[in-house]
């Protein structure tokens, strides 16, 4: 995606929500176009682009896409936890494994810090947030900090 000297190019694509799965191509986007029922904004960043889907129910899901068209990161801020299976695809499994492997942690965030997958789920009732990214899919010159 071409960038215009650091200034974000914002394209509003109307009410046709895209849905992409972490680690897969953006073209897999339409796996679920109904779930969010939200407005999709495509924003060009430095060396990547993002889809930001804002739903009427207050959920904001952002998907980060590399120039090669792969989704390298996702994040969410919502009054509930969105269906992460649809967001994470096969990466839902390590999340479930991490949830079961926790020792003594109660009420705190769920984290995964693997070499090839980084995940966090935090917040509290009515204000959930989290993010996930695949380090090996980060575009050149793009750091994980863009996944906000």
């Amino acid at each position: 995606m071409k960038t215009i000297s650091g200034v974000l190019l914002i394209l509003t694509l109307g009410a046709a929500p895209a849905w992409a799965v972490l680690g897969e191509y953006e073209s897999s986007v339409s796996l679920d176009q109904r779930y969010m029922r939200g407005e999709d904004r495509v924003i060009a960043g430095q060396g990547y682009k993002l889809h930001q889907i804002t739903s009427p129910n207050g959920a904001v899901v952002t998907e980060y896409v590399s120039p090669e068209g792969k989704v390298f990161g996702v994040s969410w801020r919502a009054p509930f936890i969105p269906n992460l299976e649809q967001l994470l695809g096969s990466y839902a499994t390590p999340v479930e494994q991490a949830a079961e492997a926790q020792t003594h942690r109660h009420g705190g965030p769920l984290i995964v810090r693997a070499a090839d997958f980084v995940f966090v789920s935090g917040g509290h009732m009515r204000a959930f947030h989290g993010s996930a990214y695949v380090p090996s899919l980060l575009p050149k010159n793009v750091t994980a900090e863009v996944v906000q």
Partner: protein
């Protein structure tokens, strides 16, 4: 205000005579009679008040003051404020108490003062405005599963609506300042018949509650009377955590298809959750329209569960913070836990006190008030970085935060996700509320592997990793934060004396 002496003095004399009093000076306060004027007014004395006390919230009433040396010119103060005195006799005065005088629990001094010459103030006698018993005990221990470190537990009594006999006391309910509403395992209330809350179509309402640990609880919403010490929330909506759910949890609320439910004692580690956060309801207006698609309240008319509309209403509606349903002491809570030693304690005990500034045991005192955002967050600054999504959560059993300096690469060997410094490390952070309050605090983090080895149930120096994702933008001040502090949780939209600019509620400590 004093009464007109010239018209009341003769009456006073008559009453003095009738009472057989010999205290001529006290009864001789009149003027222009055959009795020579006194050289000096007596010092009044109060022997009793009638009534001597009232319940908080009582209606306006007359307070009769009995004693000696009262004059028609006597004045009366109640809690330091002048109240118009009506002179009955040298031994009796009355004042009118307003509802406002009795709105707050406490002991309020009543003093009668006679004017000079002589005169002066009487002894003070307290009029007691008694509040409900607003204290339940808290216990920090390993809980019913014997492995829940820093579990903060209380007992909750629930009754069938309107019944004083069909009740059960549920022990080991987690007290959670990070969620809202009472949720109990089905087995813990199995002996009660609790009516279902139904939606507008008459279908039983089910609720799904998600946790950030990618877990959830699921089951019907019912009505029960909740009793906490002397406080009651009648016909409140209570979420039943069903140990054998009638319906499968809908996929829209289950974070991932393999996510674990906490619908058992072993998984939850408690008999339920008592949510006493800054929120009044668990969902609010967003759940009053099913079309909003909030995956929380469902009905399952044909066995297939769909999101349904549930009114905010305090009866037959959403699950409320029980405190907000109390007739008094309903503006928040005070969590008071004792200081414990570094390295932990086997157990600890404290108090959950209802109301803020409503009784003598829940005054804010010198506590600093930190107002929160609509998402109940305040800002923590640590090492020059601002963490704008911070919160205090007795449902979190540790300090959870991201430390990229002191604790980096000090992960534990035995317990993933915990901090294990070789020796206790000290952290100083500065918190800021939306109302402009700022304040610093210091806490310690010790080696979690070693702490867990003790087998203790209470730790004030337990810290967990909140992940190294860039979206980690908060300090979660969990149970360790509460030790040695009085922590107030102010409910948004409620009035607390002395607190302003906190529309979404506040924390104070």
């Amino acid at each position: 205000m004093t009464l007109k002496r010239h018209s009341m003095a003769p009456l006073a004399r008559i009453l003095c005579v009738a009472a057989g009093l010999t205290f001529a000076a006290g009864c001789g306060g009149g003027s222009g009679s055959t009795t020579p004027p006194p050289t000096s007014n007596p010092v009044p004395s109060i022997t009793s008040l009638s009534p001597a006390s009232a319940a908080v919230g009582a209606a306006a009433q007359t307070l009769t003051i009995t004693g000696t040396g009262f004059l028609s010119s006597s004045t009366v103060t109640f809690n330091g404020a002048a109240h118009t005195a009506t002179y009955v006799s040298s031994t009796q005065l009355t004042i009118s108490l307003t509802a406002a005088d009795e709105a707050t629990a406490g002991s309020f001094a009543v003093v009668v003062t006679n004017p000079s010459p002589g005169g002066g103030a009487s002894n003070a006698v307290d009029f007691k405005v008694s509040g409900a018993n607003n204290v339940i005990s808290l216990d920090v221990n390993l809980g019913p599963t014997n492995d829940y470190v820093n579990g903060l537990f209380a007992s909750v009594e629930v009754c069938e609506p309107g019944s004083s006999t069909n009740c059960t006391t549920v022990p080991n309910v987690l007290v959670d300042t990070g969620s809202t509403g009472l949720r109990l395992l089905s087995g813990a209330v199995g002996g009660l018949t609790l009516p279902a809350v139904t939606d507008s179509s008459g279908n039983d309402v089910q609720e799904c509650l998600q946790f950030i640990s990618m877990t959830y609880i699921w089951g019907p919403v019912v009505q029960a009377d909740i009793h906490l010490a002397g406080e009651s929330a009648p016909s409140a909506s209570v979420h039943i955590i069903s140990e054998s759910p009638q319906y499968a949890a809908p996929s829209s609320c289950v974070p991932t298809s393999g996510a674990q439910d906490l619908n058992s004692l072993s998984a939850l580690g408690a008999n339920g959750i008592l949510g006493v956060s800054n929120l009044t309801q668990d969902c609010g207006s967003a759940c009053t329209e099913a079309s909003n698609g909030i995956p929380m309240y469902y009905s399952c008319p044909n066995g297939s569960c769909q999101i349904t509309s549930v009114p905010v209403s305090s009866t037959k509606g959403q699950v409320w913070n029980p405190v907000a349903l109390f007739p008094q002491d309903n503006n928040g809570v005070l969590v008071s836990l004792p200081k414990i030693a570094a390295g932990g304690a086997p157990t600890a005990s404290g108090s959950l006190i209802f109301g803020i500034g409503t009784q003598t045991n829940n005054t804010l005192g010198s506590a600093q008030v930190y107002a929160v955002t609509p998402d109940l967050y305040f800002t923590t600054t640590y090492n020059g970085t601002q963490y704008s999504g911070s919160f205090i959560d007795s449902g979190s059993n540790a300090y959870y935060f991201l430390d990229s300096a002191t604790l980096k690469n000090l992960d534990c060997t035995d317990n993933t996700g915990w901090y294990c410094p070789p020796a206790a490390a000290s952290f100083t952070v500065t918190n800021a509320g939306t109302n402009g309050t700022t304040g610093s605090l210091t806490f310690s983090i010790d080696n979690a592997d070693n702490l867990f080895q003790t087998g203790y149930g209470a730790f004030n120096d337990l810290g967990g990793d909140s992940g190294n994702s860039p979206s980690t933008d908060y300090f979660d001040f969990g149970v360790p934060f509460f030790f040695g502090r009085d922590v107030f949780v102010g409910i948004g939209g409620q009035t607390v004396t002395g607190v302003t600019n906190a529309p979404n509620g506040f924390w104070a400590f």
